[in-house]
Symmetry: C2
Subunit: 358 residues, 2 copies
Amino acid sequence: MSRAAPQPEQPPGSVLLREIREQPEALSRLLESSGEYAAVARMIRARGIDLVRLVGHGSSDNAASYGVYAFGLLPGLTALRDSISLSVYYGADADLRGSCVIGLSQSGQTPDVVEYVERARGRGAFTIALTNEADSPLAETADAVLPLAAGFEEAIAATKTYTNQVAALALLAGYAADRGDSLVDGINEVTELMADFLPGVERRLSEVAVALAFVGRMFVIGRGPEFATVREISLKLLETCRVAAAPLTATDLAHGPIAALDGLFPVWTIAPDDPLLPAVRDAAARARAAGATLLVSGTGAASIPDGDYYIPVPKPSLSVLAPLVSVVPGQVLAWALAQAKGLDPDRPHGLTKVTLAP
Amino acid sequence: MSRAAPQPEQPPGSVLLREIREQPEALSRLLESSGEYAAVARMIRARGIDLVRLVGHGSSDNAASYGVYAFGLLPGLTALRDSISLSVYYGADADLRGSCVIGLSQSGQTPDVVEYVERARGRGAFTIALTNEADSPLAETADAVLPLAAGFEEAIAATKTYTNQVAALALLAGYAADRGDSLVDGINEVTELMADFLPGVERRLSEVAVALAFVGRMFVIGRGPEFATVREISLKLLETCRVAAAPLTATDLAHGPIAALDGLFPVWTIAPDDPLLPAVRDAAARARAAGATLLVSGTGAASIPDGDYYIPVPKPSLSVLAPLVSVVPGQVLAWALAQAKGLDPDRPHGLTKVTLAP
């Protein structure tokens, strides 16, 4: 999967920005495989699966955070981000009959994800590979393969593979709930919302980035399905902008970390337009009271008072799909802030595309 | 549960330090209730429980991270930190027969933990309250109550309640695996290791703290059972020292965040003397190569080369109990670094002991 680094004549960040902009198209490509998602969901139902185990690292693990909510809200199944260590390094011997395993890896090469899936299959789980690469070790190991269909990703910082993973988990959970058609319509709608939304966000965040160029640390807060967004935005800022961005649930902020805040420590609030809004609004108010600079985005941004910067996000008809749109400002800020800080987000310090380390 | 703030004549941090030192005694108190743990474990076995759902916020959620490994390694049960939001805010309707729920709250008052437990009981789960307060709403709501037995905790930053939660989960998992006596012996041994270890750690970290007084951000890395330690140490530094400390699995460090490192961004590595050591050693080497200042602790510290500061930790006979000892340097550094920075860890900015926010 390793290819040559982008050619020097390309301006810094151009690869990342191109892939951010490509996301609506990548989502449309995913929908071309919806029949395969429907078929795998039928297998999940036929086998009486009652537990979904999600495994991945980095952005894939962030998408897995979303999967917990997609399966919980749509078919009402318990899903968890399972411990790879317990199985692969400690040899713990849980009975996995009745479990479905979804291994998430863009490249299909992540060694301990492949090994986890192999062991889980041996212990009776129904195993699914969700990957961009149908010929990869992960795909060869699993019972079923679902195409991520994001197309080749050149940027080191994942964008379109993350949103396609999120959409893929929503689609599979939707079919498992016998609501697949509604999810297909919903993802189609998101491709339009995203395409309309992107140009304005690029302009707006290029301005905001200049004001944030001094920032060395940040909390990103949210809760529920948007906690995946919180984690993914933090990771983008860490890997491209050298910002120590830490993801926190809105509730955990009040359980200690709020004591670290001051005016040089911004808090980015992802406000959902759903039953968790009051909890997130309360956390944002506490951050403001502690003197933090407040960035506000998400579909419920308009309900958060006293923000310093607002990046409202259009709300999809299916609110479970909101994280597909609300991650976009984080991706765009990673691109814009890197430029404001004089960094090249296409060449982050010390990173390679496929991580083969243990 | 609210009491008067510590009297001004007490030196800064004296309440926190007293409770750090009290931990061996608090663990011994927990063991006086081992019969109750054995009885609840018998109920777990009699009911054929195959899934353990752990819920809590802040330090309690960090202890839950440990519970995932205690139940996975000892009785071989799958345990997860369950989503409170799915149940309490979104009304997701999973079938919880076959599940055991453990609600963790020092005060027994955390509102959404109480509500989660109430709903889970209504949906067929066997519910357990693990709390310091036998008369609390949480204790009244659950099927069974396990005493945390930590004694009244005055400091806002939890220490002895965290270590007693970790030990309580190990004890319950041990009895569920029919190995309760071995866990009792192991925890008894830890009380001695901890008491012997503490004075030297206080001296050593008072020196290290002076060198770290400039630090505004830090990664704390580890994996497996010690990931609970990683999360808890990060939280202590956040709430008492205004350090933006972010917990990362050793593997996730390489998936992006490593790009943020430089010489002013220390990485604290918790090295386990167990099968995960090579993965953690690799992550530490990458952090070092990226120019980070490296703090090394944990029972496997001696196997990590090129550290700037070493705080080796004695290894208990039962390696599953190592996190009880390896969290202590983090608690002590929180105390020492706060003093080096001129902060009072007994009065962190904006925090109260019991968080009643949503």
